[in-house]
Symmetry: D3
């Protein structure tokens, strides 16, 4: 089985870090294919960057020239999920959905810790669209920009712990890490907090494998009926044009 | 890994059928332990039977005398899920949650086909409580009682197809089979309808394995903080009483 | 008129206390028949105990061998209400519904003070299912276990007052006592707080009488169509099996 | 105990009819005081008439010169309820709330049959504001104007039955009569339909008695803190002016 | 174009102040016709006063004897809007809708600062009915009664600023002034806070002009089908009775 | 005043048609600047195309080299709105918001007629995100692709009328045209249907002018705080990079 893991930004180091987490979550025999968009910002932290990242992720997958069985979208809260599902019949798992789903299976209420406050409304929108806000206590920002995550693991863990404890006080019983770059911090925080802590990439790779094994592919009727392949596209080389 | 698969009724034939589906979904190395309640109705199709079944499932798991890694609750819409989660730290996957979650990953809207109309409000309540009604088009009854499912596979498939097509007309893009006894019909209907069709037991076993592999256990704070072990219980031999 | 008042736990002292409140609320000529389940925990404070209590209450009413006109379910937040309604055509009033309904008639927003925090999500679910969460400011726990209520009335009143005042600060204009065991504290707190304070047993007995006088019985179609009387039941002597 | 029963329109015949229903619902010893507004339309069937009727009902109660223990507002869906509650501490029961509350106690879902379609959105707003739309299947208009109700009981019953059956088909399990003028038709329709049918005036009088007996009065803080008595009012003789 | 601007209270000074704001917002060639109700309270700050004000505004417009192109209702949160729309086909803009609509176009979330806390639930109801509560962070009261607004502009601005800053802390990104009498304070607060601050009268006059220019009139079917002109009205000289 | 009117697709003829409508709606002295994206599909009718169109519209506005006062986004249901608002302080009006807002001011419920059914869920999402679904009866597809709109006005009008009448039957009282390409059809349908019919481009240009005249600009805090100008962007020449 081959799973594409698509970073939402153009930072190849982050793609590598995400791929490492993905590989750790994957079963033996599953190939993780990391994909980095060819255009866009070095990190996506707000509506503007997120909309460019959405197009960039669609473009990047269009350019993959090997077959694949599933797609993991590794941008927490980023747009594009429904477009990806419409385009391919291979199942698409967005980390923004995967981690809350897992959280709902092991806790009555959960909370999310993310990077900057500019990312919060984008994540809230994504949850609402997926119907996952119902049991989410809150999305809190640690104010750690994506670019600083790899500075000091200890400092990042401390900042996340602070917000996670605030979420527990508000009623959360499990914590979702709201950034694809918080690699490995789930283990650290699970230890510190004594509650389930869920990393989106880890959760998404596992769910993607599950869907493939269950032979489920995305429905091709209604909202996800594939886009027309006979339209004229301009200035966009990676369009779903026939033949 | 050992997964308990708990039937909601006292019909041992149905437990066997469920166990067969579960075994088919499980990975090599996973042991499926079928559990049949020692009391209750031969099928649960409505509020009254569902509340007795809830207690019966809690009782049945309490009596299991081997260690286990996860619990699959195989009664579609039946009560008791939150009690099960509160009692054990092994992850609990209810088929009522598992199949809709899978459906949400491969379709924008889904619909559920169940047995009798008396089961419909019970299922709707369970979805609402789990936050999964958001993208559910409707729950439709085929008016096939659980007891008749094993009569003629063809006749059951025909009845389910009829309701499933009505759901597709209402906007569903994937179908969830709303009874643990619809074993094997997912494959038949997938073929007939050309859309994803999801069996709850299959989905739940896969998700339970996923949670165990991800080393996630149920949170022990808040709603699922384990029940007191020092209370006095009367007339109930399977209580969570200490030592 | 004869009203069953069903305790949710096996503590006969609490049943007696509830029956006393019920008798105080009943009109002359109304007989209060206290019912104590024959199995279950000595108090129900969380999902696990609540699901066993639900089955125990259904069982207990099945064993009543005199005719009755209405059923009051005296477990605040406990499960089983819809099963009870399905089973009998005598009207069923759950204290979890009765007190908030009364509160809605005399206040724009209300709040609930209950026992332990483990009971809070169970109560919230019950309100949501009944459509009564709309104007509920919050459910707050006094952290007084049911077992300690009868220690010192003064101490209990103080603890409830503290949480009630917090609810008033959050916007509540009336207080609902969220435990069948808070007998008589409505009068004390009404005095202390100067706002309507409503006891569930008192409210439910009054509403049950009202329904009986209005000759209303539970609908026998749809969700509450009576359960089948021809099913095979195992290990459960109090099943609705046809004579 | 003395209960004001306030008609929403200026039709004295309808007040008399309402008073008769109210008297039939009241216990021995309860005095029903019928109140007819001194201004407004002969029937209220839509937003415009409803807003004038709201002011007229407030005015009419202000002019009552005997003490009273409770107020029943006998206009189905009409505005003014919250103003009435703010003004007096005697409990206020609106028939728009009373009948759905009763319905919720004996059915999982209910439907409302009213007069003209112009009344439907007004009723829907009132339910939404009270939090009672949650389990209401639909509000359907019989297109019988209030003025024609007293023509032929048989014809009115037939028209209501038609809409009521449509509501049952849509999932309703009990019927609420959505007009204070449908006096006595609850009995006829209960017979014809075999499900609970609830008249608002009957329900409201019973609930008003219940509140009085429970010594509950409207909260005087927050939304229902009484209006200022020191404001200058112009052209409105029935203002809550001090002294 | 001629726009009626209807004050909700009988204070002619406030009408003059509102008319001044309206004139400032109007384009050259638009005539602002101020309308003061002939009856009611000097200010409307709660349910009771609001329901009388609703009827008084309907009455006042009925008495206008010149043609007009649009109606602005200048009572923040006051009732009557839907009755006004039903009665006339000239478009009706309520300041309670206008300002939040503008806020939604320039901010993701907004908050409202109003006068007394008794006005808060009335405003919340109005927003909910209009579907505008979705992105409203909160309605906060400055506890400045309408009658004191014209005392000291500086003191009023200080009080509003305090509550506005609290709203910004809660996540608001724009502020709506929740009283028709806060004339001119939008400019002051915009300066102080550095975020969009919106006055309802200003917004409503602009939207009213926009609707007139777009040749949009209120729909005359469904909820806003004009009231009957053949009904008998009593004690109300300004009824919509046919010629 | 200069208003950018941004087409969502690369079809310059459609841009011209949109600009014509915009010019017709604009006041004297307002310059309409039509903007066509330099990349993307010739029409956007579903999630996939919509996400590319969102990035293309952001890119296109970034390349405008003259100052402007407001932005109209002329793609009904298309993504990108929040990104546009975050990036510029000039007010942004999306036709998907503008027409429903106008409809809410002149009708109690409205319906939307759009092109293909693949566009329906995208529009529903946009309404939900804006809080405008509350009073929307339904979004119905005429199944006329954008590319065929300019074939026969009569045939298009007939198809839209059919769906519009279905919406009126479902309770809509006004109709919103759900495609920027339905130019001029509002007038035709208003005539045919006798209810308000609203074109999004017309409505949006009018609201944009209104915001500019009211000196309102997009809030620069919270969700719309401008994106960082110091990030590294790759392969995207129109990024918000500082100086």
């Amino acid at each position: 089985m081959r799973i594409l893991v698509v970073n939402c930004n153009t930072n190849a180091d982050m793609t590598a870090s995400i791929a490492e987490i993905a590989a750790g979550a994957a079963s033996p025999g599953t190939d993780i294919v990391p994909v980095t968009p060819s255009f866009g910002p070095e990190s996506a932290e707000g509506y503007y960057e997120s909309f460019v990242a959405a197009a960039a992720m669609l473009d990047a997958v269009e350019r993959v020239d090997e077959p694949f069985d599933a797609i993991v979208m590794a941008g927490f809260g980023e747009h594009g999920r429904e477009g990806m599902r419409q385009r391919w019949d291979a199942p698409v798992v967005d980390i923004t959905e995967a981690a809350p789903m897992m959280a709902n299976l092991v806790a009555h209420r959960y909370g999310i810790v993310t990077t900057l406050s500019s990312a919060v409304p984008v994540i809230e929108d994504s949850l609402a669209h997926a119907g996952l806000q119902h049991r989410c206590v809150a999305v809190r920002a640690s104010e750690i920009p994506v670019s600083s995550i790899h500075g000091s693991v200890e400092a990042v863990a401390d900042a996340l712990e602070l917000e996670a404890r605030a979420l527990l006080d508000e009623g959360a019983e499990a914590i979702v890490l709201g950034c694809a770059g918080f690699a490995g911090l789930d283990v650290v925080l699970r230890e510190r907090l004594g509650v389930p802590v869920i990393d989106g990439v880890d959760a998404a790779v596992r769910l993607a494998e599950t869907l493939v094994r269950a032979r489920l592919t995305t429905s091709s009727i209604g909202a996800y009926r594939p886009p027309s392949t006979t339209k004229r596209w301009t200035g966009w080389t990676a369009a779903p044009v026939a033949g």
